[in-house]
Amino acid sequence: MRPAIFQLAPKIILLRWSENPGPETSETVWQWDAYLNEHYRDQLVETVMAYCEIALYVKRQEAVKPLIDKLKRVGLNEEFKPWGKPKIVSLPVCYEEDFGPDLEQLALGLELSTKQVVELHCATTYQVAFLGFLPGFAYLNGLDPKLHFPRKDTPSPQVPAGAVGIGGMQTGVYPMDSPGGWNIIGRCPIPLFSTKRKSPTLLAAGNQLRFRPITKAEYELMTIEVQTETFQYEKLQHD
C-alpha cells in the first residue's frame, strides 16, 4: 500500500493512505514510520503517526522537494517489520460504580448487562495504533462492535486521569484530567503518563493491550503503590 505524498507547509510533508483505518492500515503506517526514522533520521525533527497518515516535520535547513521526490520512489517490502514481537500490556481497570459513572447507561443503551459490558471490554486484545490527543493517550484498534456507543451529547468538563471510556467505535484511557465526551465505564490506577518514570509513556504504537478487571480494594492498593513509587511496572507485561 503506497501513500499519497504532499507538502503541507514549507517544512511539513504529509503521507496519506486511502485505505480504511484498522489493524492492517496501522501495520503499514508503522512500517513506513520505522523506515522513515531509520533512513531519514538526519533530515527530520520528528514524525507523527495517526490512523491513515504520517506527518514529517523536516529540519529547517533541509530541502523539502528533493526529499519528496525520494519518498515517491520508496517501495517497502510487506515483510519489512523491524519491531519484533509486540509488547503485550495488561492494564488493571476497576469497573465498580464510582469509577464507571456511565457504565449503567451505556449497558442499557446496548441492551447488555453491566457484567457483559465488562466481559466484552476485557475479552479483546487491542492494538495501540498511535499516541495523540494528550501526552500518553493511546488510540486503539479492536473495540468489539457490540460495544460501539455514541459519545455523550454534552462533554463532561472534567474527566479524571485514568478514566476508561467508550466513544463511538473507540475505547481508551484518559492519561490526565481533561474535559471529555466519552462514556466512562471504569478507571485504571496506573498513570499512562508520568515524568517520574524512566519511560514517561506506558504505551507506544505497535503494543498490544488488554484490560483486566480489578476490585476497588485492589485499585486502592495499586494507587498507594504508585504514589509511594513501589509499584512494579513489569507486572503489567503480559505473556
Partner: protein, 280 residues
C-alpha cells in the same frame, strides 16, 4: 533570582519548544510569538532558544533579587523601579529593583528575556511549561526563578532589529488536506470573510466565530500541529497554537506560515482577521 510579587493574567516560562516527543502525544509548546521572543533574547545577548518569561494580557510585578540585564519585547514595555524603558532594549535592573510591564497596544503577549537565561527545570529537552509535563502549567505569585549563567552570544548592533508585530490584517495560509473537500462557494466565503477571535482562545488554540452557511466536518483522527486551521461541524475555525494536541479530528483547511502564527499570538478576543491563500 527573580521573584513574582504578582502573577499577571497568565505568565509562564517558555523556550522554542519540546521537540522529538510528539509521537508520545506531547505538544511542542514554546513561545507563542517567536519573532518577539527571539528579539528580546537577541537584545540581551542570549541564544535564540533561551527560555524567556511569556506574559499575557496583564503582566506580573517582578522583584529582581540579583542585578541582571533584561529586555522586554512584544505587546509590553518595561518599567524598572517605576521608570519606563525603551522597547526591546537591553536594560540594567539592579538588585532589589521592581519591574513592571506596561501594555504598548501592539499585542497581548510580551517577552521578558534575562541575560544568561533561567535555571528552571528542563523536562524532555525543554524548559517550556505545560500542564502534566512540567511541575506547573504556569507561574504563580510568590514563585522564585533562579538565573542561569548561560554563555552570552555576541550582540549585533541594535539598529539591525526590526520590530515585527501584527500590522497586516490577513494571515498567509497554505491549503490544508481537507480544503479541497469544501465546495467552491464555501471556500470563497471563508476567504472573503472577516473572522473574530472568541474569548476562549488560549495557548492551545484560537477559536474564531462561526459564519452563516459555513460548516466543516469530522475526519478520521490525523496529525495536526501548531498553525493548522480546523473547521468544526458548527462552522467555527480553530487555529491550533503552540500547546496544540498532536492529532485531531476536524477538517484541516489551512496551515499558517510562521510569521502569521506570531501575528495570531498577539491578537486578543474581539480582534478581526482574514486569510490569504498562497502556494509553494
Amino acid at each position: 533570582m527573580i521573584r513574582l510579587v504578582t502573577s499577571g493574567f497568565w505568565t509562564s516560562v517558555q523556550d522554542l519548544g519540546r521537540h522529538g516527543y510528539r509521537k508520545s502525544g506531547i505538544p511542542v509548546s514554546g513561545v507563542m510569538d517567536r519573532t518577539s521572543a527571539k528579539l528580546a533574547n537577541q537584545v540581551v545577548g542570549n541564544a535564540p532558544d533561551t527560555a524567556v518569561v511569556e506574559i499575557t494580557a496583564s503582566g506580573p510585578v517582578i522583584e529582581c533579587q540579583n542585578s541582571c540585564f533584561i529586555a522586554v519585547s512584544g505587546g509590553f514595555d518595561l518599567k524598572i523601579a517605576g521608570v519606563q524603558q525603551a522597547h526591546a532594549t537591553k536594560c540594567y535592573a539592579s538588585a532589589g529593583s521592581t519591574i513592571e510591564f506596561v501594555p504598548n497596544g501592539k499585542g497581548i503577549r510580551g517577552y521578558l528575556a534575562i541575560r544568561g537565561g533561567l535555571d528552571v527545570e528542563e523536562v524532555m529537552g525543554s524548559q517550556s511549561q505545560y500542564q502534566g509535563v512540567t511541575a506547573a502549567a504556569r507561574l504563580q505569585k510568590g514563585d522564585s526563578l533562579p538565573l542561569a549563567g548561560a554563555p552570552v552570544v555576541a550582540t549585533k548592533p541594535l539598529s539591525s532589529f526590526g520590530l515585527k508585530l501584527p500590522e497586516q490584517d490577513k494571515l498567509t495560509v497554505y491549503a490544508g488536506p481537507e480544503w479541497e473537500q469544501l465546495d467552491a462557494k464555501q471556500q470563497e466565503s471563508i476567504l472573503n470573510s472577516t473572522w473574530e477571535v472568541q474569548p476562549q482562545s488560549n495557548r492551545m488554540a484560537y477559536v474564531l466565530g462561526a459564519k452563516d452557511g459555513i460548516a466543516g466536518f469530522e475526519i478520521v483522527t490525523a496529525p495536526v500541529q501548531p498553525g493548522m486551521v480546523q473547521i468544526t461541524p458548527s462552522g467555527k475555525l480553530i487555529i491550533l497554537m503552540r500547546d496544540a494536541q498532536t492529532t485531531g479530528g476536524y477538517a484541516r483547511i489551512f496551515q499558517l506560515d510562521e510569521l502569521s502564527m506570531d501575528m495570531v499570538a498577539q491578537r486578543a478576543s474581539g480582534d478581526q482577521m482574514g486569510f490569504r491563500l498562497t502556494s509553494f
